[in-house]
């Protein structure tokens, strides 16, 4: 869909996903890295697949000039330049704008471009803390706990991609590029769902609840979400609503078929079930027999059984479970980069017109400066067209 769009991705991990998303959507993305950068880690390779790699040393005069020329012909620049770094000096917005009025410069920063804490240092842990997500996971009487894989940079990158394309739409109408600024801290807010509204409306502070969910009942009762099973855990909740009621009825049927004691589950009219008024004692009584039933299932048995019964609920997967999931195989999700070795990257994130676009480049697939300059200097693939009303 973005065929012909030229993107220079000069970012650190705060920007990788932005470039990868634009590449998945069809843009021609070049990842720029200094000569000394180590690029072997799985995380770098995962997010910088589908991009060519240009090694460039911003401290060398000739290469600085070359980068400036590439930027003069680029459509989008993604950058996370730390003030004072060699790269930062080259990417000053007013300088870039003067040389290329059509350039869209996406500047992703931990806390945004300016403000009282814009200069604060933050890795994923601090950004998940600053964005509120850390407070919402972990045991209620324990420490706030993060996902053991960096998330904040990905929230930031995803917002960066959206911002770039919003600016692209504006450019179509006006002919001009502009700067898009992204705050990773603010991007993490997206992960909080509607938690802020509890505070804004009721003055209540949602907090972590461990293995239980809160906020579904008016009494403050908590409901179990994780249930130990034979080889791990199952995620299931006694939901209300149309889908929840149907699901719960299916579970009760499954338990009946399996011949396990139903206890309090037997007495419920699922067509009218609503968790909102339940007390903790009522919730606990319902959950007891379900605990025993799930303890006897494997993750795979639950996945297949729930799918067959069109029930809500999923096993708590490891990467091993995900790698073996037949649904992903059927959807052609894994991309081996046309290699015989099982490279097995996450493929393009969406299927468009029934096709998942194959990844075009392996991570680190090199392009040299001369080739790129020639490409960029060549006929504009995206010469300005008369603005058409959308």
């Amino acid at each position: 869909m973005l065929a012909g769009l030229r993107v220079l991705d000069c970012s650190d991990r705060l920007g990788w996903l932005a470039g990868r998303m634009l590449a998945d959507l069809g843009a021609e993305v070049v990842k720029v890295e200094p000569p000394e950068a180590g690029l072997g880690a799985a995380e770098w390779r995962a997010y910088n697949a589908n991009k060519r790699l240009l090694r460039l040393d911003p401290r060398r005069l000739r290469e600085r000039a070359a980068l400036a020329e590439l930027l003069a012909h680029a459509d989008i620049l993604i950058e996370t330049a730390v003030p004072g770094s060699p790269l930062a000096g080259l990417l000053r917005p007013e300088v870039l704008r003067a040389r290329n009025s059509r350039l869209i410069q996406v500047s992703i920063r931990p806390f945004g471009e300016d403000g009282p804490r814009a200069h604060w240092r933050a890795s994923d842990l601090e950004l998940m803390a600053a964005g509120g997500a850390l407070s919402l996971a972990g045991e209620p009487d324990g420490a706030p706990t993060r996902v053991s894989a960096p998330q904040a940079c990905l929230w930031a990158g995803a917002q960066g991609a959206v911002g770039a394309l919003v600016a692209l739409a504006h450019r179509a109408a006006t002919g001009a590029g502009q700067r898009v600024t992204v705050s990773a801290q603010a991007a993490v807010l997206t992960a909080l769902a509607h938690a802020p509204t509890f505070y804004d409306i009721l003055g209540e502070v949602p907090t972590r609840c461990g293995e239980f969910i809160t906020g579904r009942t008016l009494t403050g009762a908590r409901m179990r979400a994780f249930w130990p099973c034979r080889d791990g855990y199952i995620n299931f909740v006694l939901y209300g609503g149309v889908a929840g009621r149907r699901s719960n009825r299916q579970l009760a049927e499954w338990m009946r078929e399996a011949g396990v004691p139903l206890g309090a589950v037997a007495g419920i009219d699922w067509s009218t079930f609503d968790p909102k008024p339940l007390t903790q004692a009522e919730v606990d009584a319902l959950e007891q027999p379900i605990l025993r039933f799930f303890a006897g299932l494997t993750k795979r048995e639950f996945l297949e059984g729930a799918a067959a019964r069109e029930m809500l609920g999923y096993p708590v997967s490891t990467v091993e479970d995900i790698a073996a999931d037949p649904q992903l195989e059927a959807r052609g999700f894994w991309d081996d980069l046309r290699s015989t070795a099982r490279a097995h990257h996450c493929g393009s994130f969406a299927i468009v017109d029934r096709v998942r676009a194959p990844l075009r480049y392996a991570p680190g697939e090199p392009v040299d400066l001369e080739t790129l300059l020639a490409e960029f200097r060549g006929a504009h693939a995206r010469a300005p067209v008369a603005a058409t009303a959308l």
Partner: protein
């Protein structure tokens, strides 16, 4: 509110979505000037209106819920009974009108309503349609229902959260839905760009599961390439040490990490334990990880004696990674979020003045905004069908008589 023309001014969006994954896409577009119509029905309003707290004064009601409001600001609210022929006629007109159609129903539902992509394309050859659902439109489990909060477990996130010895931990709400919605917004904007250049729209089949997996792509590749099975490890990191949260005076927590020996030296000075910097037990990151217990105890003692804000400021002045663990209430007082005007208050007809959340990006020359509070149920039927779609007074009344707006 900005008076400059917004980036998506003139872009029209019909949103047949409910809950999170569809509506958040429309909100992002609306915040930058798109005209977004959120379609639901009086018989069956958007599930987010009634199924989840919080409600104004704790009293449930279709126009009293924070959950719906949070994802539907800046939009027009329409009601159509898609089970009536009259409602479907108007839905088709809406599809013909829209540049972008968003839906997050189960696969096949839109098609059965006569609003699938083929039908949409016939009405509107250049339409960009986003179909977002749990598993995607195809595959053996395409029709399995799913909520985002549980999909976050299938997609590996919950298994990666918590202590190694303990159970998985919940993430708040449908975490994965917002990965999908953010990516979905990028996809529809790409489709819009294609339509502008070539006249051709697109059908985007987005699986919330697949979109979510991109947020653990590194761990997945590490498994495929190296056989590594990623496991939850509390707040630890494989490189940095220390890398933890610590309880401070007053009960707030502080997150901090050191990514070099030099940074650790600076941390040691700040907490008045200079000798730790030359202690062989803590000389390298590997050593610091190995002697984590003693190190965390020293840091914890310092944190316990001061409040999290002060601790963070002192550490940042020494160029150490640190930040208070913001609770949801802290977010409304955070000085950086305030600087970016993240929380924008707008007046809602039933809920009064409420805070809405602005996206994490903004454009320098065409800034976005929270255009309005979330719509009351069916509040804009006349605006949408008479003003936007051009129905005459008589035609509107006829549709109303036929039950289209139920």
């Amino acid at each position: 509110m900005s008076t400059r023309a917004q980036a998506l001014a003139g872009v029209t969006v019909a949103e047949f979505g409910a809950y999170a994954a569809g509506p958040h896409v429309g909100k992002l577009l609306a915040n930058f000037g798109a005209r977004v119509v959120h379609v639901e029905s009086r018989r069956r309003p958007d599930g987010f209106r009634l199924e989840y707290p919080p409600f104004t004064d704790g009293v449930p009601g279709v126009d009293r819920g924070g959950c719906f409001a949070h994802f539907n600001d800046s939009k027009y609210g329409a009601t159509l009974d898609l089970h009536s022929e009259a409602g479907r006629e108007l839905a088709r007109r809406l599809v013909a009108w829209a540049d972008i159609v968003i839906e997050n129903m189960r696969p096949g539902v839109m098609r059965r309503l006569g609003l699938g992509y083929e039908a949409a394309q016939a009405l509107n050859p250049g339409v960009v349609m986003l179909s977002s659902c749990n598993m995607g439109q195809t595959g053996p489990r395409a029709n399995t229902p799913g909520f985002g909060s549980q999909l976050s477990s299938l997609a590996g996130f919950c298994g990666l959260t918590g202590t190694p010895e303990g159970p998985p931990m919940l993430l708040y709400g449908p975490y994965i839905d917002f990965i999908a919605s953010t990516m979905g917004a990028a996809a529809v904007l790409a489709g819009l760009d294609q339509r502008r250049r070539t006249g051709r729209g697109a059908w985007i089949d987005l699986s919330q599961y697949e979109a979510g997996l991109h947020f653990i792509a590194g761990a997945l590749l590490d498994y495929h390439a190296n056989g590594t099975v990623a496991a939850r490890k509390g707040n630890r990191d494989d490189e940095a040490a220390p890398h933890e949260v610590y309880r401070c005076d007053g009960g707030r927590w502080l997150a901090l990490s050191c990514w070099s020996d030099a940074e650790f030296g600076r941390l040691a000075r700040v907490i008045g334990r200079q000798e730790l910097a030359t202690d062989p037990r803590f000389a390298t990151a590997a050593q610091r990880r190995a002697h984590r217990g003693e190190l965390d105890a020293a840091i914890a003692a310092w944190c316990a004696a001061r409040d999290a804000e002060r601790a963070a400021i002192l550490l940042q002045e020494a160029r150490v990674h640190a930040h208070p663990v913001n609770t949801v209430s802290d977010l409304f007082r955070d000085p950086q979020l305030a600087h970016r005007h993240v929380w924008r208050r707008r007046h809602h007809g039933v809920m009064g003045e409420r805070a809405y959340c602005f996206p994490a990006f903004d454009l320098a020359d065409a800034p976005g905004d929270i255009a309005s509070a979330a719509p009351l149920l069916g509040a804009h039927n006349e605006t949408v069908f008479r003003e936007f779609l051009g129905l005459s007074v008589a035609d509107y009344a006829a549709y109303e008589a036929r039950g289209a707006f139920q």
